[in-house]
C-alpha cells in the first residue's frame, strides 16, 4: 500500500472504532471480566485453526511464529458485525454491533528469516446496557422514571513481537504485550416526572460511574513446527501469569469528592496449541485449543468467586484455494468449523458454554498481494434453563490482509 492508501485505511478504521459506543453485545458480558473476544481473522474463524499458518503471502497473526518467513510488509485487520438475540425470563432483546478487534502490521527484518510485528488486539470486551421503568417516592411526590445501567469497555493488548525461523521446519517467536484497557459501569436513575411545564424534571437524575483502568505487561512465546515439510504442522504458545494494576475511580455525578483507589489482579497463565494436517493437495483439517486457568485468578473477590478455568476448542476443515485455469468458484477456498468454549466465569451459578459453527471463504488480491476473507458464524451462548440467560448470535467476520514490498 502506498501512503495515501494507508491514510484512507486509518481514517476508515477510526470511523469504525468511533461507532463502538453505540454497540451492544451479549448480556453475559454484564459481569466479571467480560467476554473473550474473537480476534482471529476470518480465515481462522471459518476453518477453526490458526496457530499453524505458514503462508507468508497470507500471513496469520494468531501465532507470531507464523510471520518468520515473511518477505513483504503485511498489514491486516479484522472486523465483524453481529446480531445477538438474548433471552431471559424478562423477555428477549436483539442487539447489533460492529467491532474491530484486531489490527496488525509485520515487517520482514530479515526476509524469509526474521520479522517484527506490532498491532492492537482486543482480548476482552463488555458492552451492554439495561433499562427498567421504576417509581420512587419523595416528600409528597411520586417520581416516575427509569433505571439505566451501562457496562462498557475492553482489555486490549499491544503485542510487540519478533519471529525467527530457526530452521526449515521450526520457527519461534516472542512478544511483549502491553496490556491496557478501561471498563466503565454507569448506573443512572432518571426521574422524568414530576416535571415543569417545559418538561424539565423537578428531581435531578442520580448517576454513578465506576471506572477501572488497566495497566499491565505480559509476554508470550510460541513456536511453529512443520516436521514433514508442511503436511503436518504443530504449534503452541504460552503466556505466563501476569499482573494487571487497576486504577479505580468511583464518582457520584455532581459530587466533588471521588474515590480513587488502586489494586491489582493476577491474570492466570494462558496456553494455546494447534495442529493442521494436509489430507491431500487441497484439503486440510486442524484445530486449536486454548486454556486459561481462571480458577487461579487473584484480584476482585466477587469476580474470583464466580471464576473457573476457561477453555476453547475449535476444529475444522479447509479446502484451500485452487489454481485451476478457468476453475471459477471451484478455485475458491471453502472452510467449515465448529467451536466449543467454556467461559471463565459462571452465570446463575452454572458454567457458561458457548457453541458455534462457522463457514467462510476468501478472495485473493491481484498477484497474491493480500486477501479478503469472510466468515459467517452462528453461535449459542449459555442456556436459558441452566444460566437463566441465553444468547443466539449471527456474526459476519471480514478480514483484509495486504502485502507490500517496502524495501
Amino acid at each position: 500500500m502506498n501512503r495515501l492508501q494507508s491514510v484512507i485505511v486509518l481514517v476508515l478504521l477510526g470511523c469504525l472504532v468511533s461507532t463502538l459506543p453505540a454497540s451492544a453485545q451479549s448480556p453475559f458480558a454484564l459481569t466479571n471480566i467480560g467476554q473473550r473476544i474473537q480476534n482471529e481473522d476470518a480465515r481462522m474463524v471459518a476453518r477453526g485453526f490458526g496457530m499453524t499458518v505458514t503462508d507468508t503471502m497470507h500471513p496469520g497473526f494468531k501465532n507470531l511464529a507464523s510471520l518468520a518467513g515473511l518477505r513483504h510488509v503485511a498489514v491486516g485487520f479484522t472486523g465483524y458485525g453481529e446480531r445477538v438475540k438474548a433471552e431471559d425470563s424478562a423477555g428477549s432483546r436483539t442487539t447489533y454491533r460492529t467491532f474491530t478487534p484486531d489490527l496488525r502490521v509485520a515487517f520482514p527484518a530479515m526476509k524469509g528469516r526474521m520479522a517484527l510485528s506490532a498491532g492492537f488486539s482486543i482480548e476482552r470486551s463488555t458492552n451492554y446496557r439495561t433499562g427498567i421503568d421504576n417509581t420512587w417516592y419523595a416528600w409528597d411526590d411520586t417520581l416516575v422514571g427509569d433505571e439505566r445501567f451501562i457496562r462498557e469497555g475492553s482489555i486490549f493488548t499491544v503485542p510487540l513481537g519478533v519471529a525467527y525461523r530457526v530452521g526449515p521446519s521450526l520457527a519461534v517467536s516472542a512478544s511483549l504485550n502491553l496490556v491496557r484497557g478501561t471498563m466503565r459501569e454507569s448506573l443512572g436513575h432518571f426521574y422524568t416526572e414530576p416535571a415543569s411545564s417545559l418538561g424539565r424534571p423537578f428531581y435531578q437524575a442520580t448517576g454513578r460511574v465506576d471506572e477501572d483502568k488497566y495497566y499491565g505487561t505480559s509476554s508470550t512465546v510460541s513456536f511453529l513446527f512443520t516436521p514433514d515439510g508442511g503436511r503436518l504442522r504443530l504449534a503452541a504458545s504460552y503466556t505466563p501469569s501476569y499482573d494487571i494494576r487497576i486504577e479505580r475511580k468511583v464518582e457520584l455525578n455532581g459530587v466533588a469528592e471521588r474515590a480513587d483507589t488502586e489494586h491489582q489482579m493476577t491474570m492466570p497463565e494462558a496456553l494455546q496449541a494447534g495442529f493442521e494436517f494436509g489430507l491431500n493437495k487441497r484439503w486440510r483439517v486442524g484445530g486449536d485449543a486454548l486454556l486459561q486457568r481462571f480458577s487461579s485468578y487473584e484480584g476482585r473477590e466477587d469476580w474470583a468467586a464466580a471464576m473457573e478455568d476457561e477453555y476453547r476448542v475449535t476444529a475444522g476443515v479447509e479446502r484451500v484455494r485452487g489454481t485451476e485455469r478457468r476453475g471459477g468458484a471451484g478455485n475458491l477456498p471453502l472452510r467449515l468449523s465448529g467451536a466449543y468454549q467454556k467461559w471463565g466465569y459462571r452465570i446463575g451459578g452454572e458454567p457458561v458454554e458457548e457453541l458455534s459453527f462457522s463457514a467462510g471463504t476468501g478472495f485473493p488480491f491481484g498477484h497474491d498481494m493480500g486477501q479478503l476473507d469472510v466468515a459467517l458464524t452462528w453461535g449459542k451462548i449459555g442456556d436459558l434453563g441452566t444460566n437463566g440467560l441465553q444468547s443466539d448470535l449471527w456474526r459476519v467476520t471480514v478480514s483484509v490482509t495486504g502485502l507490500e514490498a517496502w524495501w
Binding site: 454513578r208 491481484g366 471480514v398
Partner: protein, 474 residues
C-alpha cells in the same frame, strides 16, 4: 515500457486493495448504524452496581444566621423616587409633601389683569396616579370567592405647611407641622380612581390660590389620606417620574405627570378659544413621601420573614447544614416558604434567591447600599417570577445547585441565601421597567416559630449517596 507496465500493475493492485478495504469498512459502518431494541430489564439480574441511598429525605428548619437587611440606593434616595405614596396599609402610612414656587407664575407671562378670582374659572391641584393603582384588590363579600380587582376612590386632604419642607431632611420621617388651610375631599372632587388620565384633582378656591401668590414665593403642602381613606397605599407620579409609558396611562395633551396646579382663565373663554389653550401649569419644585409610619421588619426569623420593596428590606439567611451527610448528591433541594396572603400587599415581583457571603449579614438588622448588595449577591441560585403578595401562598424555591455547592465545599467561606425582588443586577429575572424602589410591596412569610409547624420555612432536601466515596479526594 517495462517500467511503465510494472507501474500500472502496481497501481492496479493498490486500487484493488484499497477498494476492498473501503468496502469492508463501509459495510462495517452500515452495520454500526443498525439500531438495537430499546434496553430492557433483560440482564438486570447481573447488575451489582447500586446506590447505597436513593432519594433520602432531610428537612432543615434551623437557621444559624439571619438578617433583615435594610438596603439603601444612594443613587435614588427617597426624595428622588418616581412615585409619591399616600395612604396606609398594614401599619405603614405615608403622606405626600410638595413645595411650589409661586414666583414661577411670573415666568408664564400671565397678564397681571388675569391674576384674580374674577378672571379665573378654576384652580386644581392635580396628581397622576400610577396605572398599577387604577384597580385595587378588594375582598369580596363572599369570602369563598377570589379577591376582586375593583376601582377604589381615594380620599385625601390638603394642608398648607407652616413652611416649605426641607428636602434635605431625612425621610422616612414625621410630617412637618401645618396650620394652614385644610381642604378635604368632602369639599372637593374626591379624585375618583379611573377618572380622566388617572388625574386626581383637588379643587382650590381661586381666591386662596391668588392669596398664596401674593403672600410669598414658596409654599409647602401636605397631602394626607382622608378619614374615609381606603386601607391602601396609592402611588402618584412624582416630579422624578420617567416611566411615563410603562407605568402610567397615556397622558393627555398639556398634562404633566408631576404634581401641579392647573389654572384656567375666564378671558380665554371670552375669546372663544379652547380652554386648554388658556391654562397655566405650576409644577412642584420638590416632593417626597413621608412614610411617617413604617412597621419594622422582624429581625428574628421566629417572628416572620419579610421582603419589602420601595423602602427596601431584604432577608438573608443561613441554614444549619450540620445534619447534611458528606459527599451526597442532591436530587432536589427546595426552600419552602409560606406567604401570609392576608397581610401581604402591593404589586407582584419576581423573587430571587442569591448566594450571599455569610460574613455580609452577621447583624440581625444590618444595612447596606444597593451597590454593596450587588457586590455581595454573588450568584443567583433561582427565582420565581410574578409572585403576588396577596395570592401566592406557598413558594418553593429550587436551591438544588446551592446545596450541592455547600456539600462540595466549593467556597472557602460559608454562603447563605439572600431573598430579593428583581433588582437590576439579577438580569435573568429583571423583566419589568420598574425597579424595586418604584412600587411598595410587602411579602410576609411565616416565621420559624409559627404556631403551625407546617407553615414554618423549611429546606426540603432529597439526596442520594454511595459509600465508596468515603475517604475520597476532590
Amino acid at each position: 515500457m517495462h517500467m511503465e507496465s510494472a507501474y500500472r500493475q502496481s497501481a492496479r493492485r493498490g486500487r484493488t486493495v484499497t477498494g476492498a478495504l473501503v468496502c469492508a469498512c463501509a459495510l462495517a459502518l452500515l452495520a454500526a448504524a443498525c439500531t438495537s431494541d430499546t434496553p430492557t430489564e433483560l440482564g438486570q439480574g447481573l447488575v451489582t452496581t447500586e446506590f447505597d441511598t436513593t432519594l433520602a429525605l432531610l428537612g432543615v428548619e434551623n437557621l444559624t444566621q439571619f438578617s433583615a437587611l435594610a438596603i439603601e440606593d444612594e443613587d435614588v434616595p427617597l426624595k428622588n423616587q418616581q412615585l409619591l405614596y399616600l395612604g396606609s396599609r398594614e401599619g405603614n402610612e405615608s403622606s405626600i409633601l410638595i413645595n411650589f414656587d409661586f414666583a414661577k407664575l411670573d415666568s408664564l407671562n400671565i397678564p397681571p389683569a388675569w391674576m384674580n378670582p374674577d378672571s379665573t374659572v378654576y384652580v386644581w391641584l392635580r396628581f397622576v396616579r400610577a396605572l398599577n393603582y387604577d384597580n385595587v384588590l378588594k375582598a369580596p363579600a363572599d369570602t369563598s370567592q377570589s379577591p376582586l380587582m375593583a376601582k377604589s376612590p381615594v380620599y385625601f386632604e390638603l394642608n398648607e405647611l407652616d413652611a416649605p419642607f426641607d428636602s434635605t431632611d431625612t425621610y422616612p420621617g414625621p410630617e412637618p407641622s401645618h396650620s394652614g388651610i385644610n381642604y378635604n375631599s368632602e369639599h372637593n372632587d374626591p379624585g375618583y380612581v379611573g377618572d380622566l388620565n388617572q388625574a386626581s384633582k383637588i379643587k382650590i378656591d381661586p381666591g386662596v390660590f391668588w392669596n398664596w401668590y401674593q403672600e410669598g414665593a414658596k409654599k409647602g403642602f401636605a397631602v394626607r389620606s382622608g378619614p374615609e381613606a381606603d386601607t391602601t397605599l396609592v402611588g402618584f407620579a412624582s416630579r422624578e417620574m420617567r416611566l411615563h409609558y410603562s407605568e402610567l396611562e397615556p397622558l393627555g395633551e398639556f398634562v404633566i405627570a408631576a404634581p401641579h396646579f392647573i389654572v384656567a382663565f375666564v378671558d380665554s373663554l371670552r375669546l372663544g378659544v379652547e380652554l386648554v389653550d388658556n391654562t397655566a401649569l405650576l409644577t412642584s419644585y420638590s416632593d417626597i413621601s413621608t412614610f411617617h409610619e413604617v412597621v419594622p421588619v422582624p429581625t428574628d426569623p421566629a417572628d416572620g420573614i419579610v421582603v419589602r420593596t420601595c423602602l427596601r428590606n431584604y432577608p438573608a439567611m443561613h441554614f444549619d447544614f450540620s445534619s447534611l451527610p458528606p459527599d451526597i448528591y442532591i436530587n432536589r433541594a427546595e426552600l419552602r416558604l409560606h406567604n401570609d396572603t392576608t397581610r401581604g400587599f402591593g404589586t407582584y415581583w419576581s423573587l430571587v434567591l442569591a448566594e450571599f457571603d455569610s460574613l455580609d449579614f452577621d447583624q440581625p438588622g444590618g444595612s447596606m447600599t444597593l451597590d454593596e448588595l450587588d457586590d455581595a449577591a454573588l450568584y443567583v441560585v433561582t427565582g420565581i417570577t410574578a409572585v403576588t403578595p396577596q395570592f401566592d401562598k406557598t413558594l418553593d424555591f429550587n436551591v438544588t445547585q446551592y446545596v450541592q455547592r455547600v456539600v462540595n465545599g466549593v467556597y472557602d467561606g460559608s454562603r447563605g441565601l439572600l431573598m430579593a425582588p428583581d433588582e437590576r443586577f439579577f438580569s435573568a429575572y429583571d423583566r419589568g421597567a420598574a425597579e424595586p424602589d418604584f412600587y411598595f410591596s410587602e411579602y410576609r412569610f411565616h416565621g420559624t416559630a409559627d404556631p403551625d409547624p407546617t407553615l414554618r420555612p423549611q429546606l426540603r432536601i432529597t439526596y442520594s449517596s454511595i459509600s465508596d466515596l468515603e475517604g475520597g479526594t476532590p
